[in-house]
């Protein structure tokens, strides 16, 4: 409740019971949600420090030992001969590759949809919105058949190319330019003899930093965490991204799968450690792009 102090200070001027009640409701709401969002994360971070037995019998939020983390890591690392590292490397290739292609295609496209006029523009805009809304998983199966026909199954491109198609990114850029860059400014620059390419690269692009950050963030996180498409189009374990790899680890965990998991050293601490390793890049990325996300989301759009 201390965090409400300044608001309460101003409220003291005309404090009423209903105001006190609303502060109580706010505090309770934020606190309950805080536990809901954070408790599983804390549990997850603590799990690799304990043995499977300690996890069941000790206090759920107790800390085991760093030695146990090392043991869990060795078990995990030796799983299928360093499979974990291969999966992480694959995820990095797929996510980074499609991120580059997404930015190269969606930023100019969003710009053109917002600030230029060409035949078919409206159609493209509508199709973009529709494909953005359409559940992408409904396309996974047809994409699988399509890739199969062009013999791209099991290649890097079978993941990177479909990942690069990112209508949500185009829409974000479109909205951003449509609302933040006055068309008058472009008209004036055109009259001054600016070429269309210069308009884009010298005027629009420098203004687009916040939205480029946003698109990059959502694209990378979405692709890093994607499961369905790679699950279908990549048949070999050494091509799996980490998400599909986690699924394989899960089916090798004795507590969830006593038959297949028998004899392996993959138990709850190892699985927890694998989850942490898998999410680490996204987590780190969030730490660094938080400023872009929070202040850049729409702030740049207000100045006109």
């Amino acid at each position: 409740m201390t965090q409400l102090a300044p608001a309460r200070g101003s409220a003291r001027l005309r404090a009423t019971p209903s105001r006190a009640a609303s502060f109580l409701v706010i505090g309770l709401l934020l606190a309950v949600l805080l536990v809901f969002f954070v408790l599983p994360v804390i549990w997850l971070l603590l799990a690799p420090t304990k043995t499977a037995d300690q996890i069941v019998h000790d206090n759920p939020l107790s800390f085991g030992s760093f030695a146990q983390v090392g043991r869990a890591w060795r078990h995990l690392f030796s799983f299928q001969d360093h499979a974990l590292l291969v999966w992480l490397r694959n995820s990095a290739i797929y996510s980074a590759g499609s991120l580059v292609l997404t930015l190269l295609t969606s930023v100019p496209a969003g710009y053109a949809l917002a600030l230029t006029r060409f035949r078919g523009r409206k159609t493209l805009l509508v199709i973009t919105l529709v494909s953005m809304i359409m559940p992408s998983a409904t396309l996974v199966l047809p994409i699988f058949l399509e890739l199969n026909r062009f013999h791209l199954i099991g290649t890097v491109w079978s993941v990177i190319l479909p990942f690069s198609f990112y209508p949500f990114g185009v829409y974000l850029v479109y909205i951003y330019f449509a609302t933040s860059l006055p068309r008058d400014l472009l008209s004036a620059a055109r009259i001054d003899g600016c070429s269309e390419w210069q308009l884009f690269s010298r005027i629009a692009l420098p203004l687009a930093k916040p939205v480029v950050g946003l698109v990059a963030f959502f694209s990378f996180v979405g692709n890093w965490n994607n499961f369905f498409l790679p699950y279908l189009v990549l048949p070999n374990s050494n091509q799996f991204p980490i998400q599909v790899g986690l699924n394989q680890l899960l089916s090798s965990t004795p507590s969830f799968n006593p038959v297949a998991g028998a004899g392996l050293n993959i138990t709850i601490p190892e699985l927890s450690l694998a989850i942490i390793v898998a999410i680490l890049p996204v987590l780190v990325l969030f730490l660094f792009s938080q400023r872009t996300l929070v202040s850049g989301m729409l702030a740049g759009a207000t100045k006109e």
Binding site: P6, A7, L30, L34, F37, V38, L39, P40, V41, W43, A47, V56, P60, T105, P108, A109, Y111, L113, T116, R117, F118, L124, I127, V130, S131, I133, M134, P135, A137, T138, L141, P142, I143, L145, E146, F165, T179, S180, R183, L186, L199, F228, L232, V244, N247, L250, F256, N257, I268, L271, I279, V282, F286, L293, M297, L298, A299, A301, T302, E304
Partner: protein, 310 residues
């Protein structure tokens, strides 16, 4: 301001003043959208047409009318799969909209900025675990043997993992997972949208005697309703395609959860176990049409394109 009603009002006036000599950047426009359009055709339009093509033909490519649709609709697993997802969507969308907007309003106006940033950050963290990781974490949270809230589970009458995975609980479980990973991100977006409302507007509301809740209800929320509609559309899309969560739960529960709990799983079983791509495409088309209907409704009602129209 820019996202909202001010725009359609100001735009025509400006356009009338400055009629462009030619279509602004006409040919350059094609150049800028070329790369994206290629990807759109290859991985959006073509697969969609292909799904429709498959849904109206059989495995020898012969036109079969609506036979594939009646075939899958008569499947005993079809109606349960869709009703499961509808229950889940109802829970998920209501929870998402109410709590996300409420929390964004509170974080925008009722707490210190630094505290607000900290909460947004902490609420967002689970977003990094979207997908497989979140399901695995929740497997642990819902297993009374290891869960830190096993007292809560037993208070709700669930003493074993099997009891937690009772069919009636599944929509709630998937709602929890979706909210845990997705809501924080949307709170950041909603906060951003609220942040975009000029201070003068809020000042004016306060001068007129509106308290914080009144301001939120009559000024702030109407001004971000475009973003709320947008969030609802995307959450709906995400909800209908539910696949990873029930699929992993099925793996981890040793088959206690149905392998065809969601329509997408049913389509997957059709394609990869029964080898019936046409039937799978027919289910996809059902999902697709469902999503399009809802999207069309929201697009029409939230005026998403008015900021652009003549």
């Amino acid at each position: 301001m820019t996202l909202l009603e001010t725009r359609p009002v100001s735009l025509p006036a400006r356009r009338r003043g400055h009629t462009p000599r030619r279509r602004a950047g006409g040919r350059a426009g094609y150049f800028f959208v070329a790369g994206y359009t290629l990807l759109l055709l290859a991985f959006g339009v073509f697969p969609t047409c292909y799904a429709f093509y498959l849904a109206f033909t059989n495995d020898r490519g012969q036109f079969t009318g609506i036979n594939q649709f009646t075939k899958v609709a008569r499947d005993y697993r079809f109606v349960p799969a869709f009703s499961h997802v509808l229950v889940y969507l109802a829970l998920w969308l209501v929870t998402l909209v109410v709590l996300t907007v409420l929390v964004a309003v509170v974080l925008r106006g009722r707490v210190r900025p630094g505290v607000s940033a900290l909460f947004r950050f902490l609420y967002y963290i689970p977003g990094a675990l979207a997908g497989v990781a979140s399901v695995l974490v929740w497997l642990f949270m819902l297993d009374p043997d290891v869960s830190p809230v096993s007292w809560l589970l037993s208070a709700l009458g669930m003493h074993s993992f099997a009891a937690v995975l009772a069919p009636g609980n599944l929509p709630w479980i998937f709602m929890l997972i979706a909210f845990w990973t997705g809501a924080g991100g949307w709170m950041v977006v909603m906060y951003g949208a609220l942040n975009n409302i000029p201070d003068e507007v809020l000042e004016a509301a306060r001068m007129d005697g509106a308290g914080p809740w009144r301001t939120a209800w009559y000024v702030q929320i109407p001004m971000i309703r475009q973003w709320i509609a947008y969030m609802t559309i995307l959450a709906f899309a995400g909800g209908t395609q539910l696949f990873v969560e029930p699929q992993l739960l099925q793996t981890a529960s040793l088959g206690r959860v149905s392998p065809t709990w969601s329509p997408n799983q049913l389509a997957y079983v059709y394609a990869f176990q029964q080898g019936d791509f046409n039937g799978a495409a027919a289910i996809s088309v059902f999902l697709l049409v469902l999503g399009l209907l809802c999207a069309g409704l929201l697009v029409a009602r939230s005026n998403m394109f008015t900021l652009d129209e003549k």
